[in-house]
Symmetry: C2
């Protein structure tokens, strides 16, 4: 059985290293995200294309480069190995034949959050934590509660008061404790921090512990494996906290170091909405850190993130990849939902429809070539958002 080759944690800003088998949130000195590091030379011995062909589907197939050490701590609900669908009819319609959708809605709890939270809850359990807390626009909360239920941990979630009913119902069914907060996800984060102080809960906020990133990065491994160890020309990704984009970028570097892929990288396109675009604004200004966005408002709940602790990691990846950052409007998102659903059979979350709109704009601006291979992310099921549709 393959084993984790986790060696240490490293501050993403300063490079300072920390022992891996202790409970950590942000790097103590910089208050920035910690990255998990592995013995990639060791991992490369068994994490080979030949071995992977014979492994079961799911994100745990990349076990050598995942942080959980003991099988007993793996909480597996079937996350990962989501389909990469060639969207033939859509591609023809928008004039970009090689358009693919990575359909993350086929994860447990209906979103890509299952990867990050599945990993983080498993690792928190391994390190002895038993009470977890999270601020969430909805999907992360549902995922955390599901994995906590499966693993026998206690879950406290804080969501904005206007969160769709489905998210509350889901968390409560899993036995999670749900608190609705007047405000945005940043305000929910403040409440979680208070609970951490008062009760010693473990904080699973995006990028505020090292392991959600490790779950999300498996999207990068899968894309490479599904494209037979090559990478597409462009990846268009809806960016709230940015863990997925940063995770894939980390995965590409690990894979190159292990000899699984070459040096080619996709151009990473980060999509936000005109109502909340801190990363796009910082990109346009040439800044590495993004100021908080005031009065954030958009129908795409997952993109209503006014401040991201991993801002510089997102911006570094976008720039290093020669990608771009782009905003779309809520109106364009709603139009794109129907376009994608009716031409692909994938009913996208608003966040994902934003990616399609971004692709159309970038095609029209010749920033994506019509023969290029483009991957759009459907980050979650729209079944949680049907209040938006007639």
């Amino acid at each position: 059985m393959p084993q984790s080759t986790l060696t240490h944690l490293e501050c993403s800003l300063t490079g300072q290293t920390y022992e891996a088998d202790q409970v950590m949130n942000l790097a103590p000195n910089s208050q920035r995200p910690l990255l998990a590091r592995y013995d990639l030379a060791e991992a490369a011995k068994s994490l080979t294309p030949e071995n992977l062909v014979r492994r079961k589907p799911g994100m745990w197939r990349y076990r050598e480069v995942l942080p959980v050490r003991s099988d007993a701590n793996v909480i597996d609900l079937g996350e990962g190995s989501t389909p990469l669908l060639k969207a033939a009819r859509l591609g023809e319609t928008i004039g970009c034949q090689n358009t693919y959708i990575k359909d993350e809605s086929l994860n447990p709890t209906g979103s890509f959050k299952a990867r990050g939270l599945g990993m983080a809850v498993s690792r928190a359990k391994e390190l002895g934590e038993s009470v977890l807390a999270i601020p969430s626009a909805g999907n992360a909360a549902g995922a955390m509660c599901a994995y906590a239920a499966a693993g026998g941990l206690e879950a406290h979630v804080y969501m904005p008061r206007d969160v769709p009913h489905t998210f509350k119902a889901e968390c409560q069914a899993y036995g999670g404790s749900v608190t609705l907060v007047d405000g945005l996800i940043t305000d929910c984060g403040t409440k979680v921090a208070e609970g951490v102080q008062a009760h010693g809960w473990f904080d699973l906020s995006t990028l505020k512990e090292p392991y959600r990133l490790e779950g999300k990065k498996t999207m990068g491994y899968e894309i490479a494996e599904q494209f037979d160890w090559t990478l597409p020309d462009v990846i268009i990704y809806p960016t709230g906290g940015g863990t997925g984009l940063v995770g894939m970028w980390k995965a590409f570097a690990e894979m190159e170091e292990m000899g699984l892929i070459g040096s080619k990288r996709p151009r990473m396109v980060t999509v936000q909405t005109t109502g909340c675009a801190p990363i796009v604004r910082a990109y346009d200004r040439g800044e590495r850190f993004a100021d908080e966005w005031e009065n954030a408002a958009t129908i795409a709940d997952g993109l209503r993130v006014p401040k991201a602790v991993g801002d510089f990691l997102i911006l570094d990846a976008v720039r290093a990849s020669e990608g771009t950052a782009i905003t779309v409007t809520d109106e364009a998102i709603m139009e794109s939902v129907g376009l994608m659903a009716s031409l692909t059979g994938v009913f996208p979350a608003p966040e994902s429809a934003a990616c399609l709109e971004a692709q159309r704009v970038l095609l029209s601006q010749y920033m994506i070539g019509r023969d290029e291979t483009v991957v759009l992310f459907n980050t979650g099921t729209s079944l949680k958002y049907t209040h938006l549709f007639g």
Copy 2:
């Protein structure tokens, strides 16, 4: 590349055979379901455990025993290869350690209907049909519309007027034409039959064409493969139209003929609700055909099927397997939703919570042994039913 070994169609009641590559609904003489038959000796040459280990996940991995002949007609949204989860905490709580959940909610459109409709729409396309129609309690409609959208076919769905909003929104997003009917699914079926007469639509009603069954049967192949080519002691299955139960039973026979499994069969338990239990009533009366249930009513929409054209196929399988048929109440279903969700991380559809309640009853009656291996089906996501929860 593996090929379909489809040879002919056979009437499930009379055994009369028909040519396979023509459009068929029910068997013309008996008005009963047609079954697809294969050259299993040929199929067995390549459909081996060794070859399967190397094939990609998804229901199309069993291509030799599926009806679609040309790759060009396969409409693949990533259906199949759903997780088989060991429910450790739940098993401990109810006193049945080897309890597993086959989580079909991880299919496209969030339900097991994706298998049957993915197969049937693909095959309908292959046989030249372009306009499809279906009566549905909801999940089948969404699945048909999704596959029709991906494949470029026209979709007409008829659902009871009280169907949850999410189902309508989903079908409409996929570009389907939605008609709400005052009545039950049987009344919707009458409307579809009128459309077939008037407009030449192709009728995709459960078991009224031969190929939905072929998609559903892949659940049986998967369970065998996931249990390393053995079968569990008991399968508990919520029964509306019964296609999945009949399909798995057919799969087991095919697998035995191909030498993939032995003669052991699971005891098949069919679960209905006290408000609509035509199959259980017929089982109790020792009858092979089930009378229509009057005034059907239950919160489990998928079990509100007063009359099933495959009634005798369901009852034959239950009896041959030495299984049983059992009813549960809506109240017990609602309790079981929370029990399953909070102990497993799987938020079950009401239909699936019914399976857990049935398991508890049968354990208490010593009809399931506490050391037996039991598989419960989560047939679809509860995200479509959150109106039922606070």
